[in-house]
Amino acid sequence: MSVQLKVDDRDTGEVTQNVLGRDTERRDARQKVTGRATYAAEIRPEGLVHGALVRAPGMGRVELANRAEVEAMPGVLMVLSDARMIRNAAQGAAGEAPVQGVETAAYVGQPVALVVAESFEAAAHAARTLTVTCEGASNEIDPEKVEIAEDDTDETAQGDLEAALREARHEIDRTYTTPSMHSAAMEPHAALAEWDGARLTVRASLQMLRYNRAEIADCLGIDTENVRLLSPFVGGGFGSKLGISAEAVAAALAARELGRPVRVVQHRRSVFEVNTRRSETTQRIRLGADAEGRLDAIGHEALVSNLPEEDFSEPVLQGTHFAYAARNRLLVQRTARIHRPAAGSVRAPGEAVGITAFEIAMDELADEVGIDPVELRLANIPEKDPESDVPFSSHMLAETLHDGAARFGWADRPRAARQRREGEWWIGSGMAACFRVNMMMPAEARVRLTADGAIVETDMTDIGTGSYSILGQIAAEALGLTAEGVEVRLGDTDFPPGSGSGGSFGAASTGTAVWLACAEIRTALAGRMDCEPGELTLREGTVQCGNRSRPLAELLNGETLTGHGEVEPGKAEDKVRQATFGACFAEVAVSDVTGETRLRRMVGSFAAGRILNPRTARSQAQGGMIWGTGMALTEALLHDRRDGHVVNRDLAEYHLPVHADIPEMDIALLEESDPWAGPLHAKGIGELGICGSGAAVINAIHNACGVRVRDLPATPDRVLGGLS
């Protein structure tokens, strides 16, 4: 049996909030803070051997010149180069093998061999000794230099943009660029593969196990049922672990051949090359507005890149489609096929860069029109989806703008630039609106109830997002238990397939599946009480129907009740536009001497449906705001101009924000309930914070010192060039 739901319509039910919605300790916090959380590479089975991936130093046909010599090195067990190895990580939710084969290298840094040895040290040494040569290819690596195929162009047009721009009272026509960026999760991609006959078990660091399982099976040419994946803890993903990567396939192949468990952990440098980067973007934004700042024309044209044969194209315009109203619109997306490392999803693909550029353009427009940037946003909130004309499921942008402005003290900000100075520092404030689409994915979960409590099981992952916590809270709420009364087991493909973690859809999708599984249990209990499920109240071990009540233990009579829940997106997706909204406000100091920007404070106000656990949700929003700060000020994956290789492929040169870069953050999660988001009325919060916070920082720089940065990040050299 199973309770299934296709989300076609508004939900009319109500969810009680005894455990749900409460600020609750992260379920796995104690394990993490004491070092007892165990990640992919941290098990040592009998006979374990170690693999090290070897990268291509160039592009073209690959030759392993001294293979025999390396195979003869002490401790070395094999040098593997197999046609089933993969070129780069699979795209999110692919569910099939990415491009395979290592006889040619499509980009510099592609893994082309695996050296396996008895010890990690021997493997690393042998991998460095292996001489790889590549020849015969001189592939284009500059997105501006290639012809774009028609298939790689996507256009949405409404009205007449050019005419509207000509007639507009105020016009903006600017080009913005964002560089390649990287997820750079703290745990490097790792896999430990072990075979038992035809069955393969991989302990891996992955986000979406139901798809990953199929991807590995497809790579190896075996049945999906013969693959078991375990990812109970994942040290961050942010998109880079949506699809399987090179180490998992190589480890599985080597383990089969050697008949021993093989562990492969990607070298930090490989992490930056093999696992999809966020594409660089060039974005031309044209805006036309009337005297009050009301938009009549929106043009947004984006150029992004990817390797040939990759489906993914950074969806830069995703947020622009619904952010603001304007009758005349032209949105064009182009994908250049070049040979930099593969591009793919990185936290909030699309909006992270698209909304950032757009919200800088809106700030420029506010200046041009001469109105307050908050007022400009308020004047342009659409009543319905600007392109499809369907209503929004809920829309709280105005509320977040008012709330954020009040918390920040926006009213005190001088509108003109270069008004405040402290010593060498220019002080200024900026803001931006935040937009992110809301998605749901198919998900299943199982819940078992005994007199001792409940157990939730799904292959859903917790990549730091708080899945352990909220799924436990959902079951506790539905079954009248305390949070401690529920055990949550995740990250094992032996459990029903959850949604996986990505696109901020985890909580609402897998959470709904858990809720439905509990509904099946509630129905069974109501049957035993001889009443309707709707009349049932479960509280602390008692089952109540009207004025009759019985102890749960007695009703269960030693049995276990099992519920299976299954949710999939339905027609709701076509009936309403679902999104999350927010507003970010930043204060910066810019050095007049060095051009350095310091973030002094940041306020974020967000609306993302029902908040299931304010503590973990807040951390997610904060993480997003910090990512936005990194995007604005320091992060850029640099490609060599001749062969496109990633020059700064480590954590010393790819500059993540550090402790000293980040001040206190004031974060508000506004109360909202979205009935179109399934019975929990919850939307995603994991990505919203990055979809605007960077623009707030860039806009604050302008307010501080008058320099308008259009090429991110705003490194000192770029700011200094504008200061005079």
Binding site: E25, R26, D28, A29, R30, Q31, K32, V33, T34, G35, A37, T38, Y39, A41, E42, R44, S119, F120, E121, A122, S183, A185, M186, E187, P188, F233, V234, G235, G236, G237, F238, V265, H267, R268, I463, G464, T465, R615, T616, R618, S619, Q620, Q622, G623, G624, M625, I626, W627, D650, L651, A652, L656, P657, V658, H659, A660, I662, P663, E664, M665
Partner: protein
């Protein structure tokens, strides 16, 4: 080669390849996987442990360099510095100073080491007056913790947790 040192109060005698780092000795040979490997290059701080009470990036140090020394890892830190570490760990939970948890053990070990450096008056890059008694301001604290990266962006919670531990420690010593 033969190497022995003490980890969390227990003496360990190991036969190790001289190339084995302190981090790999802990994780792969002693099974103490609480210390994390984020970069293996001394660039992230996830592997921070205390050697003779001082913080060290275990990935940048060979096991063979620590003959006879006293090493404390996340697994033992609550026993070796009970007041600071246990308060800090609880405060990390209260302020949700973690998400994926991969940087967390390093943050905790680093903070414990950092607080003792500060108590001993070590200056940092942002210390203005090298002769005045050190006040552990937010700027001082974040400067000293900047070798511990957190990609999940948990810095504000981690800072609050460290401040809580530092204040608890101050009142401890005042009471004493």
């Amino acid at each position: 080669m033969q190497i022995s040192f003490t980890v969390n109060g227990t003496r360990q005698d190991m036969e190790l390849d001289p190339r084995v780092t302190l981090l790999d000795a802990l994780r792969d040979h002693l099974g103490l996987t609480g210390s994390k490997k984020g970069c293996d290059h001394g660039q992230c701080g996830a592997c921070t442990v205390l050697v003779e009470g001082r913080r060290v990036n275990a990935c940048l140090s060979l096991a063979a360099m620590h003959e006879g020394e006293e090493i404390t890892t996340i697994e033992g830190i609550a026993q070796t510095s009970p007041d600071t570490a246990a308060t800090l760990q609880q405060a990390m939970i209260d302020y949700d100073g973690m998400q994926c948890g991969y940087c967390t053990p390093g943050q905790v070990c680093s903070a414990v080491g950092m607080l003792s450096e500060a108590r001993e008056g070590w200056p940092s890059h942002v210390t203005e007056d090298l002769d005045a008694p050190l006040e552990l301001t937010r700027d001082e604290l974040t400067e000293r913790m900047s070798g511990n990266l957190c990609r999940c962006g948990c810095y504000p919670g981690i800072v609050k947790a460290i401040r809580t531990a530092s204040e608890a420690r101050t009142s401890d010593s005042e009471a004493a």
